[in-house]
Amino acid sequence: MITRDFNVTVAARVSELRNLSAMVETFGEAHDLPPRTNFIINLALEELVTNTLVHGKFEHGVDPQIDVSLSIHDGRVIVVVQSNGGKFDPTKNTNPDTTSELDSRPIGGLGLHLVKSQADAFSYEFVDGFNRLTLEYNLS
C-alpha cells in the first residue's frame, strides 16, 4: 500500500479549522477510513488546535506555529500536533465533572476529556520549544 501522509502548518486562527477538517476528509478518503474514525480525528484536531489558540502563550516576537500531521502505520492512524504556545502537558490535566446535575455542571473543560477518551494512545513530549502530542487510533 502506498503511504499517503499529510502535513500542514496551521495559522493561529480558528478559521483555519475548516481547512483542517477538509484535510481530514481528504486523508480519510485516501485511506478509506470509517466515518467514526474521521469524526474523532476531526474532533481531536478541533479541540487541540482551539485549546492552543485560546490558551497558548506564544512568545512575543515568535511566530505562532501549529503543525499537524496525519499518517498510518501498522493499522493505526497516527495524529501529531505540535505547537510553540508554551509548555503545556495535557496528560496531567484532571478530567472534568461528567456526572453532576444540570444546575451544578461546570461549563468547559470538556474538549480534552473527549480527545483522551477516544484515542487508543495519547502521549506528550516537549521538544525544542514545541509541545508535541501524539494520538493513535486503532483501525481494527
Binding site: 479549522l17 479541540e47 446535575e101 470538556l110
Partner: protein
C-alpha cells in the same frame, strides 16, 4: 470574527425547533449561542434542537447546549435534542451530557417528551 452558521427555525404551536446545518465548532459556536440565547430571552420555553442536518459538533457547540439547557430550566421550560448521528451521540454519552439534557431519536419522540 465568527464563521457563519445556518440555523433553520421551525415553529409548530408552542414548540420551536432549531436545525443547525453543517458543523458547529469553535469558529461558529458564538453564532449558535446567540440564536439559542435570543429565543430563551424571548421566553421560548419548549425548544427542540434537531441534529439531523449536523455532521459535526465539538465541545464548543456542546457548551452552547449546556448553557441553553440551564437557561430553559430557569424559566421552567424544556430543551430536547434529537436526530443525532452515532458519532455525535457517542460524545454526548462520554461527556455525560445525555444524563442532564434529554436526547431522543427523532422529532416525533421529542414532541412526545415535551
Amino acid at each position: 470574527m465568527a464563521s457563519k452558521l445556518e440555523v433553520l427555525e421551525e415553529r409548530e404551536s408552542d414548540i420551536l425547533t432549531l436545525v443547525p446545518v453543517g458543523r458547529v465548532d469553535s469558529s461558529n459556536a458564538p453564532v449558535f449561542e446567540r440564536v439559542l440565547k435570543d429565543w430563551i430571552d424571548d421566553g421560548e420555553t419548549n425548544i427542540i434542537v434537531d441534529f439531523s442536518k449536523l455532521s459535526f459538533i465539538s465541545s464548543s457547540g456542546m457548551r452552547v447546549l449546556l448553557i441553553g439547557a440551564k437557561g430553559v430550566r430557569a424559566i421552567q421550560g424544556n430543551l430536547i435534542l434529537c436526530g443525532m448521528r452515532d458519532s455525535i451521540r457517542e460524545i454526548f454519552s462520554i461527556s455525560g451530557f445525555d444524563t442532564i439534557i434529554p436526547v431522543v431519536k427523532d422529532r416525533i419522540a421529542a414532541v412526545d417528551t415535551i
